[in-house]
Symmetry: C2
Subunit: 472 residues, 2 copies
């Protein structure tokens, strides 16, 4: 048995004047915010309804300042919450009352691109898209492209193990992290991993830190693997009269041993919102839209695209459009990239879920969600990474309407249970944070859940790093 965590604000110290002075000494007075109006933007992230102001916000300007910051904060018994751009969708960077928020956005140097070893070393505040842009200068490729890639930081991506549109073929952030420099709870700095493509010396703590949502340490440097840039790419969009035929088309593509780069899905609600938002001329009567992309060697792309096209036709696609130019492809991708924004503007409160199931269960779960929306009379738009089994059921509600919020909660409970019953997970790429915390034990079972807590206890015995999140 391990001790219960002190996961209530009353059990932590608040950042006091002495601590704030110490922090000013480390980063300079200009880089510490304490006024209510100044810290307000750091009270929330991309997640609806979750908000709590920190006592103090600190902006390190040099990596070397981070150990002293962490040591000062944890020595004072004060909670520490680390964040990048705050695009998270599970409330992972919403602080506790009295906490110090550490904002990593000024640590944004690209340290090295190593073309002999196909790696890039960056500070955690580098914008995700910039990693790929730097890689591209050398004909290289950083595949993970979360929806927030234009503003999210790579440090945040590591903390959440972010996915993106290319997960099916290229995997997620974890698959590209070779090494991390991490500041531990006591302020000690360690390197986990290295530039070797194979290494079995000791436990793999690098992978433990990836996706640990800021609860085990603060990442101050990231070493990433790069790939040769694919030579060719082809994008296509298909529409379907039923959800089942779209899902069947995806299963069929996989069964034909094709692994496309991208297989994305939009349901009718999402199609209509996107078209209303971006005027793309989408077919408003379609029940489902698939966005597919093949990349790689031109001959492979040619063949794979033709085979995908055939599978789409064989599964009763009502229309298939293949991009003829790069601009065309960008326009088709826009439909998917705009999904969240398009849905977010149609209701006061947008709650984005992130359930993921084995691919074979996708059609059943999509159908279940549609039934759930009807039974509970809530509006749900569904889009997501169909090739990964990763769906984003998006609740379009109004948090001021208590009755509707109860109906939302009842529907969400059912969706979570159905997901878990089918061997799925409560979160494919957004993290547990605050938003999914009520469901984690249900997914893991008591044994695994307690195991997580034992690891946390071992690495952060005061439970001060991003407290109140995940399992806390």
């Amino acid at each position: 048995m391990i001790a219960a965590s002190p996961a209530t604000p009353a059990n932590y110290n608040r950042a006091d004047a002495a601590l704030i002075d110490t922090l000013r000494g480390v980063v300079g007075a200009d880089n510490v915010l304490t006024e209510a109006i100044d810290v307000a933007p750091y009270a929330f992230d991309g997640t609806a309804m979750l908000k709590q102001r920190p006592a103090c916000v600190v902006f390190p300007t040099e990596r070397s300042q981070v150990p002293a910051i962490v040591k000062a904060v944890t020595s004072a018994g004060v909670p520490l919450v680390t964040r990048g751009s705050g695009t998270g969708l599970s409330g992972g960077s919403v602080p506790l009352d009295g906490a110090v928020t550490l904002v990593m956005t000024q640590l944004d140097k690209v340290i090295e691109v190593d073309t002999a070893n196909l790696t890039i070393r960056v500070e955690p505040g580098v914008i995700t898209m910039k990693v790929d842009q730097e890689a591209a200068k050398h004909g290289l490729f950083y595949p993970p492209d979360p929806g927030s890639q234009k503003i999210s930081t790579i440090g945040g991506n590591v903390a959440e193990n972010s996915g993106g549109l290319r997960g099916l073929k290229y995997g997620v952030t974890r698959d590209y992290v070779m090494g991390l420099r991490v500041v531990l709870a006591d302020g000690e700095e360690v390197w986990l991993g290295n530039q070797c493509v194979k290494d079995v010396a000791g436990y793999n703590l690098r992978d433990l830190f990836i996706g640990s949502e800021g609860t085990l340490g603060v990442v101050t440097e990231v070493l990433l693997k790069l790939l040769p840039r694919p030579q060719a790419r082809r994008t296509m969009v298909a529409t379907f009269a039923t959800l089942e035929s779209a899902a069947q088309a995806v299963s069929d593509i996989i069964a034909r041993k094709i692994v496309p780069c991208t297989v994305e899905f939009l349901d009718q609600t999402t199609i209509r919102c996107v078209d209303d938002y971006a005027n793309l001329g989408l077919p408003l009567d379609a029940a489902a839209l698939l966005l597919l992309e093949s990349d790689g060697h031109p001959a492979v792309v040619e063949e794979e695209s033709a085979a995908m096209h055939q599978a789409l036709i064989d599964n009763n696609a009502t229309n298939v459009e293949t991009a003829q130019t790069v601009e065309d492809a960008e326009r088709l991708l826009t439909a998917r990239r705009a999904a969240f924004s398009a849905l977010a503007r149609v209701s006061p409160t947008t709650i984005l879920e992130d359930v993921t199931v084995p691919r074979s269960e996708l059609a059943a779960v999509v159908k279940f969600i549609a039934g759930c929306a009807e039974r509970h009379n809530v509006r749900i738009g569904v889009f997501g990474h169909m090739g990964d089994g990763n769906l984003h059921p998006t609740f379009l509600v109004d948090e001021r309407n208590a009755d509707e919020m109860h109906r939302f909660e009842a529907a969400l409970e059912e969706i979570v249970d159905e997901t878990l019953r089918r061997g799925g997970t409560i979160t494919g790429e957004h993290g547990v944070g605050l938003a999914k915390k009520p469901f984690l034990r249900r997914q893991l079972g008591d044994g695994s859940f307690e195991l997580l807590r034992k690891v946390k206890q071992a690495l952060d015995p005061q439970w001060l790093l991003n407290p109140g999140k995940v399992f806390d």
Copy 2:
């Protein structure tokens, strides 16, 4: 600070008659060995010079027996060492005196091949090669192919995070493990991971257990990812008059953005031993031999092979031979697959090292090893996974010759230091075990080393799972 581990035999209990009776009750008397002559084969693995008989050897015949076994052994304060076929090359399954050895080879069922989700679920005792053979029946592919694949078990591969000849393009065992059923030190059984291709719910403990060398728990089930089987494959062998030109050819291939499936290396000592062993007609005056393989779509293989051929010629290969038939390819592969066996027969004691460096450092390290052999007057054959920067310097010595063993130790010290100086690791795929234990702290530094021990302490507070290994 954490307590020192009780890493001396005197601090553990020996398996006594009561414990042995309990174990017989769980698995049946026939499946428990205690006689000295019967347990002798379980005193060692594939590693030279390391040997210690266990008190008792237990063979579970059903997965469901494992929790009771683990609980009985750890409750009695007795060390537990888990092993498969015992092909390990770091002494990872050599027991402590008085320990119980758990042999997983009878748990060898293929539980499920799921062609919709491209996964296979197996018991830990399944032979590595059988995993790929089962996959092949469905047109699927399990890439990791450690040298021992014909006899090693998949459970052992998971414990060591085994590599193989296809690491450059396809990665290692870790890249294919989606889930593990694990029995923890207290006998509790948990699932880590699942069939979802994306999952960020809680810490990634699955990856912590992969490569943990039996020190954190006992794996009782493995869920693996499969890929579509590559349609085509082409194998070629090139010889070089100098080590430098071979190394430069590899760098050049990578710089031309080609990622071959396999890039293996043999030095002159290894070439001569292999030819003597297998009569392959290899050029005995070559300083280096490269074995290269391209696989995938036929058009890609065609193009990639041509580009590799050009790079080899451009870098002064003295000869390039491309396999025209499958039999041809097998013959060429034999040269590499036979390397360890061929070296092992030329001296009484064969000590296989496993240093790995960033690819850009390869040529320098290969040259350093050659110099080291000369300076210390020890015979070293070098072969390995050149594309991964993973070298196997193999010392051909005689353990009865004390002077030679001192020279071996001095040479090894220098090679380890040089490897670490160049950002490398003491082990790319064999594990730390007993053999590399003296060097782990040197590689990790005190901070990371203590972090490993904290995780161990949290998950196995009595330090009874495979004690005396890795960091213990």
